[in-house]
C-alpha cells in the first residue's frame, strides 16, 4: 500500500512527461500512454478506496511519508500523502470521471492537430488534482492548487490562436489568483497559529487550544481558507471566470469545470471542517455566499442561449449548493452532492460535447432542435442527466439535493432552505428548457448542416452511458440504508456515505454541538421531501409548457409566443439575467478603468517623484563634479599655490596647537 498510493499520482505524471517529450511524433497514437496511465491509476485508486472504505486503514487514515521536503529548523514540512475516507470519496470521483473523459477525448479531439498536447495537459491535470486530494500538508495542497490552476489555464486556452480563448484562460487564472492570495494568507495564518503545516496536526492544535487566544483568530483563518475555495470553486464574487472558461474544449469543461477542479474548494472546506466548526461566523458567511451564488447563477442560466453556458451556470449554482451545505454544517450532504454532481454534470457536459460535435460545432441552442431521433444515445443520456440534476427521484440528484435542503432547514437556516427551494425550481426549469430547445420540437438547425447530423462514435457514447449509470443509482447506493429511503422501508442507521465520512467529521460535529435527531420520515423530514419533489416537478412542468416535451406518449410543442409574452412582462429581469447581472462590466469599470487611473497616477508618481529624486541625486553629483573639476586647471602654478596654502594650514594649525 505504501507504494501503491504514490503511484496513483505518479502514473499520470509519468504519462505527462512521456507525452510532452515524444507525443508530437506519435500523431494519432499519442493517446495510448496517457489513457493507459490514467486507467492504471484508476485501478490502483479503486483498490486503495476499497481498502480504505472497508476499514483497511487505521482509524485516522493512512499516511505515506515520501521524504523530508523542507527541514528548515522551526519550519519543517514533509512531503507526504494521506488517505482517509474523505480522500477515498474524492478519489472515486476524480479518477473515474478523469478516465472517462480521457476515453471520450480520443473521439472528441481526434481531428485536432494538438491531439498529443491535449492528452499531455490532461495527464498533468490528473496528477495535480490527485496530489491535491492526497496531500498531507497545507503546502502540498497549495502547490497542487496552483498546479491545477495552471492546468486550467493551459486547457482553457488550448486553442490559443483564438483570441477569446486566450482572454478567457487569462481571466480564469487571474481570478483564481485572487482567491489564492487568500488561501496563501490562510496557510500563513495557520503556521503562525500552530507552528506546523501538517493538515491533521494543525487542525488538532487549532481546535484544541481554547484557553489562550491565537495570534490570528480562528474565524479569520477559516475565512481566508474559504477565500481560496471561492476562487477555485467560482463563488461570488470570484465566479466570473467559469462561464468564460467554456472557451476550452468540452472534455475540459466536463473534467475540470464540472467534476474535479471546482470541487477542490469544497474538498478544502470539508477537510478543514473542524476549523470552520470552531468559527460559526465563518460558517454563516460560507452558507450565505454559497446560496447567493446558487440563486445568482440559476437566474442567469434561465436565459442563456449557448448550451455550454447554461451548463456552466448550472455548475456554479450546484457548487453554491455545496457551499451552502458546508456552511450549515451538513458536510456529508456536501460531499454527497459533490459526488453525484460530478457524475451527472460530467455526463451533461460530455453529452453537450456530443451534440456540438453532431451539429458541426454549433453551440447556440436557437439553432438546434429536433435532435432526439437523430442522436439517440446522446439524447437519452442527456435526458437522464437532466432528470438527475432537476432532483426528480429516484435519480441521484434528488437524494443529495434534498439532504442539503433538509439539513439546512433542520439546522435553523430557514433562509438558506427557502432560497435553495427557489433555486431547485429554477434548476429544473432551465435544464428542461435546455432539453426542449436542443432535442425536441422542430429542427432549427442550419439547412446546410442538417443532412450531416450523425451520432458520435462509440468511444464517445460509451463514456456517456457509463456516466449515466451512476447518475441513476448513485443516490440510492450512497444513501442506503439511511434516510430517506431507509426509514421508509423499516431500516435504521446511517447511510453508506454518512458511515464512511463519520470519522472525518466527528470532531466537527462535536465542536458544533448538534445532536442527531432521528429521521422523521412521517414528520418534518417527510414534509421537506415532498416540498423538494413538488418544486422540482413544478419547474419541470413550467419548462414543458414553454418549450415543449416529447417523452414517451407525452407530446406537446413549445410555444414561442408564451416565452415572448413572459419576457415582455419582466424586461429588466430578463435583460439582467441575459447580461449576467453586468458583473463583467462592473469588474471592468472598477478594476480596469478606475484601477487603471490609480495605476496611472502611481506611474506618474514613480516617473516624476521617485525617478526625479534619483535623477536629481545624479544631477547633483554631476554638477558638483563639474564644479569641482574646475580645480583641475592643468597649471602647475595653481597646484603649487595649493601646496603652499596646505603647508600654511598645516604649519599654522601645528603652531596653534603647540602654542596652546
Amino acid at each position: 500500500m505504501d507504494t501503491l498510493i504514490p503511484l496513483i499520482a505518479a502514473l499520470p505524471m509519468a504519462g505527462f512527461l512521456f507525452t510532452a517529450v515524444v507525443g508530437r511524433r506519435l500523431g494519432k497514437r499519442a493517446h495510448i500512454v496517457p489513457v493507459a496511465a490514467v486507467g492504471l491509476s484508476w485501478a490502483i485508486a479503486m483498490a486503495v478506496v476499497a481498502t480504505a472504505l472497508t476499514g483497511g486503514f487505521a482509524e485516522g487514515g493512512m499516511v505515506v511519508r515520501l521524504w523530508d521536503w523542507i527541514p528548515a529548523g522551526a519550519f519543517h514540512v514533509e512531503a507526504a500523502l494521506f488517505v482517509d475516507n474523505l480522500t477515498a470519496c474524492l478519489l472515486i470521483v476524480v479518477t473515474t470521471i478523469g478516465l472517462l473523459v480521457h476515453v471520450y477525448s480520443i473521439g472528441y479531439m481526434s481531428h485536432d492537430p494538438g491531439y498529443w498536447r491535449f492528452f499531455a495537459y490532461l495527464n498533468l491535470f490528473m496528477f495535480s488534482m490527485l496530489l491535491l486530494v492526497l496531500g498531507d500538508s497545507w503546502l502540498t495542497v497549495f502547490v497542487a492548487w496552483e498546479l491545477v490552476g495552471l492546468c486550467s489555464y493551459l486547457l482553457i486556452g488550448f486553442w490559443y490562436r483564438k483570441n477569446s480563448a486566450a482572454l478567457a484562460s487569462k481571466k480564469a487564472f487571474l481570478v483564481n489568483r485572487v482567491g489564492d492570495v487568500g488561501f496563501a494568507l490562510g496557510i500563513m495564518a495557520i503556521f503562525v497559529n500552530t507552528g506546523t503545516l501538517n493538515i491533521r496536526d494543525s487542525i488538532e492544535v487549532l481546535t484544541s487550544q481554547t484557553l489562550v487566544a491565537f495570534p490570528i483568530p480562528v474565524a479569520v483563518v477559516a475565512l481566508l481558507i474559504f477565500a481560496g475555495a471561492m476562487g477555485k470553486s467560482a463563488q461570488f464574487p470570484l465566479h466570473v471566470w467559469l462561464p468564460d472558461a467554456m472557451e476550452g474544449p468540452t472534455p475540459v469543461s466536463a473534467l475540470i469545470h464540472a467534476a474535479t477542479m471546482v470541487n477542490a474548494g469544497v474538498y478544502l472546506v470539508a477537510r478543514a471542517n473542524p476549523i470552520f466548526a470552531s468559527a460559526p461566523e465563518a460558517m454563516v458567511v460560507v452558507a450565505g455566499i454559497g446560496i447567493f451564488t446558487a440563486i445568482l447563477a440559476a437566474s442567469i442560466a434561465m436565459t442563456q442561449t449557448d448550451i455550454k453556458r447554461v451548463l456552466a451556470y448550472s455548475t456554479l449554482s450546484q457548487l453554491g449548493y455545496m457551499f451552502a451545505a458546508l456552511g450549515v454544517g451538513a458536510w456529508t450532504a456536501a460531499i454527497f452532492h459533490l459526488m453525484t454532481h460530478g457524475f451527472f454534470k460530467g455526463l451533461l457536459f460530455l453529452g453537450s460535447g456530443s451534440v456540438i460535435h453532431a451539429v458541426h460545432e454549433e453551440q447556440d441552442m436557437r439553432r438546434m432542435g429536433g435532435l432526439a431521433k437523430k442522436i439517440p444515445h446522446t439524447y437519452r443520456t442527456m435526458l437522464i442527466g437532466a432528470i438527475a440534476i432537476a432532483g426528480i427521484p429516484p435519480l441521484a440528484g434528488f437524494f443529495s439535493k434534498d439532504e442539503i435542503l433538509g439539513e439546512a432547514f433542520k439546522a435553523g437556516f430557514s433562509w438558506v432552505w427557502a432560497i435553495g427551494v427557489l433555486v431547485a425550481v429554477m434548476t429544473a426549469f432551465y435544464m428542461f428548457r435546455l432539453i426542449g430547445l436542443t432535442f425536441w420540437g422542430e429542427s432549427r438547425v442550419d439547412r446546410a448542416v442538417e443532412p450531416k447530423i450523425h451520432e458520435s462514435p462509440r468511444v464517445m457514447t460509451i463514456p456517456l452511458w457509463l456516466l449515466a449509470i451512476p447518475s441513476i443509482v448513485l443516490g440510492l447506493f450512497l444513501s442506503w440504508p439511511g434516510p430517506p429511503l431507509g426509514p421508509l422501508l423499516g431500516q435504521n442507521g446511517p447511510g453508506l456515505l454518512a458511515g464512511w465520512l463519520e470519522p472525518v467529521y466527528a470532531q466537527g460535529h462535536v465542536i458544533l454541538g448538534r445532536h442527531e435527531e432521528a429521521f422523521a420520515i412521517f414528520g418534518i423530514d417527510g414534509v421537506l421531501i415532498l416540498v423538494s419533489i413538488a418544486v422540482a416537478t413544478a419547474g419541470m412542468l413550467a419548462a414543458w409548457r414553454l418549450f415543449g416535451v416529447e417523452i414517451g406518449g407525452l407530446r406537446r410543442s413549445g410555444s414561442h409566443e408564451r416565452v415572448r409574452e413572459l419576457t415582455a412582462r419582466a424586461p429588466f429581469l430578463y435583460r439582467a439575467s441575459l447580461n449576467k447581472w453586468w458583473f463583467d462590466e462592473i469588474n471592468h469599470l472598477v478594476f480596469i478603468v478606475i484601477g487603471g487611473r490609480v495605476a496611472a497616477a502611481a506611474w506618474w508618481f514613480d516617473a516624476n517623484v521617485v525617478d526625479g529624486i534619483v535623477n536629481g541625486i545624479g544631477a547633483v553629483t554631476r554638477r558638483s563634479g563639474g564644479g569641482l573639476a574646475r580645480v583641475q586647471t592643468g597649471r602647475v602654478q595653481n597646484y603649487a599655490l595649493g601646496i603652499a596654502i596646505g603647508l600654511i594650514v598645516m604649519v599654522g594649525s601645528y603652531a596653534l596647537m603647540a602654542g596652546r
Binding site: G634, Q637, A640, L641, A644
Partner: protein, 105 residues
C-alpha cells in the same frame, strides 16, 4: 644690537628671501622668471643652512659643506631646467607658462 650675532636674524632673513622666491614662483607668467624665483628660494635655504652651521658648534663644517652641495645641485638643476624651457620654446614659440596647455581638457 647684536643683529649680526643672533641666529634669529639670519633665519628670518633667509625666510624672507624664501618667501619672495615663493611669491615669484607662484605669480610670474614667464617660465624663466619662475626659474629665477626658484634660485632665490634655494639661496634662502642656503643662507639658513650656513647660519646654522656657523652658530651651532656641532654643525660647524657640515653647514658649509651642505651649502656647497646645494649650490652644485642648483647649478645642475638650472642647467636642465633651462634646457627644457628652451626646448619647449622651440615648440611653442612662447615662454609663458599659461600658454603651455596642450594637456589641458
Amino acid at each position: 644690537m647684536g643683529l649680526a650675532n643672533s641666529l634669529d636674524s639670519y633665519l628670518i632673513l633667509a625666510s624672507a628671501l624664501f618667501g619672495i622666491g615663493t611669491f615669484g614662483f607662484l605669480a610670474r607668467r614667464n617660465a624663466i622668471s619662475m626659474l629665477m624665483s626658484i634660485e632665490l628660494m634655494l639661496n634662502g635655504v642656503n643662507l639658513a643652512i650656513v647660519a646654522f652651521g656657523s652658530f651651532i658648534p656641532d654643525l660647524m663644517a657640515d653647514g658649509s659643506i651642505i651649502a656647497l652641495m646645494v649650490i652644485a645641485v642648483a647649478a645642475a638643476e638650472a642647467t636642465v631646467g633651462l634646457a627644457i624651457i628652451i626646448a619647449i620654446y622651440r615648440n611653442r614659440q612662447t615662454p609663458l607658462v599659461d600658454e603651455y596647455d596642450a594637456m589641458r581638457r
